[in-house]
Each structure stands twice: as structure tokens, then as C-alpha cells.
């Protein structure tokens, strides 16, 4: 259908917090009737792994709300990242925020097309059997084929 609105997203980040915007927007757009594609490049490729092991860190992110103030030097100690990740996941669950797995599944169900950047896969020697099924591989030109006709294009 050519009268269908189109949304093109480039997902470049692979942390737990940054995994949300592409999947929330893509799944919602699909529900609103948009034809949607996400192009995963660089660290964004982590979002396509079968076993998602995404983490969040407060280091370098002074805007992250903390239950109590923690000096920056302390934030870099071993175990802190794991602790913050589990606290964030707990908080999200208690507030009824979907998991990244769940949102990604909803995107797949809604036929959001997911494209992995071939160059990044080669660059980091990422084994393709670690990625979920149903994705495609392509490069910048592949992205522009869809993005050039999109109504909305986001770089996340």
C-alpha cells in the first residue's frame, strides 16, 4: 500500500535505557498503521541478539535519577553496573513498563522490518546465529531505499 505512512528508524545504541525508544516508537507506529523499518548499526546491533544482555550505567550520564547520590568514582567500582541494571529492571517491572524482549516481540508480530548493518556485523565479527530470526542484512543504500520514501525518519 503506497498510501500507508512510513517510519524509518536508525538504532545506534545498545544499552538497556536506549533500547526502549526504537522499540516503543516502532511498535506504536505499527499499531497506528505505519509501515516501519529499523536499521540497526554499531552498538544498536546488540538489540537483535537472541539473548539480550543489556545494561545501564550512570557513568557519563549525570542526568540518570538515582535513589541516593553516589560519587562518580564509586559508580565505576566493579559490580556497580550490574547493580544499577538490576535496580532499573526492577523499577520498570514495578511500573508496568514492558521488557525489551516483550517490545521487540510485539514489533516482530506487527511486521516491523528489522535490518542489521552488514558492515558492523563484519567489523565486530558478530556471529549471525546469535541474532533473532526474521531479520535482514543490508547497508546504507538499503536503508535509504525505504528512508527516502518515509514520512518520519529518526536517528536514535
Amino acid at each position: 500500500m503506497s498510501d500507508e505512512k512510513k517510519l524509518a528508524i536508525i538504532a545506534t545504541k545498545g544499552s538497556l535505557d536506549w533500547a526502549y525508544p526504537p522499540f516503543i516508537l516502532a511498535s506504536t507506529a505499527a499499531a497506528l498503521g505505519y509501515e516501519t523499518q529499523i536499521f540497526f548499526t554499531f552498538y544498536g546491533l546488540q538489540l537483535l541478539k537472541k539473548n539480550l544482555d543489556l545494561k545501564v550505567t550512570s557513568v557519563g550520564n549525570p542526568a540518570m535519577p538515582m535513589p541516593m547520590p553516589v560519587p562518580v568514582l564509586m559508580q565505576t567500582l566493579p559490580g556497580m553496573q550490574g547493580m544499577m541494571t538490576s535496580m532499573m529492571k526492577k523499577k520498570m517491572k514495578s511500573k508496568g513498563v514492558a521488557s525489551v524482549d516483550e517490545l521487540r516481540e510485539l514489533c516482530m508480530e506487527a511486521e516491523v522490518k528489522m535490518i542489521a548493518c552488514q558492515m558492523t556485523v563484519d567489523l565486530f565479527d558478530m556471529p549471525t546465529n546469535e541474532f533473532i530470526d526474521g531479520i535482514e542484512y543490508g547497508g546504507a543504500a538499503t536503508f535509504f531505499e525505504f528512508a527516502g520514501e518515509s514520512d518520519i525518519c529518526l536517528y536514535i
Partner: protein, 76 residues
């Protein structure tokens, strides 16, 4: 309250889950039938208005009662 044909309880779920689940629930009913949605996400009021507007489904009712939000959505 007006009658409805199907019900979706999205209580406790946050954005964008109420909308996504409503979309799925709508797929399971016929054109002209009404879906009753219960939500606790305060963002749902504006979101269901926007959803109805963009998808062409008719938002017959939107109300708050005792901290919960109730919507009646008629499938186009």
C-alpha cells in the same frame, strides 16, 4: 454505561502497552463492535484520543473514575 462486545483490562501496564494490546483486541472483533478498555496509565487518555484519530476508530467514551481510566472504542 453503554454496552460493549469485548473487554481489555490494561490495568498496571504503562506506555505503549495499553495501545498495543488495544490494537490486538480490536483485531479480534468485528467492524461496528465496541471494545471496553480499562487502564491505569494517566497518559492513556491522550493516547487513546490520538490512537482513535489516527486509526479511524471511534472513541465513544473516555472517563476517569476512582483513579482508573475507562474507554469505549468502536471498531471502524
Amino acid at each position: 454505561m453503554a454496552s460493549f462486545d469485548a473487554e481489555l483490562d490494561a490495568s498496571g501496564l504503562n506506555c505503549p502497552l495499553p495501545i498495543l494490546k488495544a490494537k490486538k483486541a480490536l483485531a479480534g472483533i468485528d467492524s461496528g463492535q465496541v471494545l471496553h478498555i480499562i487502564a491505569t496509565d494517566p497518559g492513556a487518555i491522550k493516547d487513546f484520543e490520538a490512537f482513535a484519530k489516527q486509526t479511524g476508530n471511534d472513541l465513544l467514551e473516555s472517563k476517569e473514575e476512582g483513579g482508573k481510566f475507562y474507554f469505549l472504542l468502536k471498531k471502524s
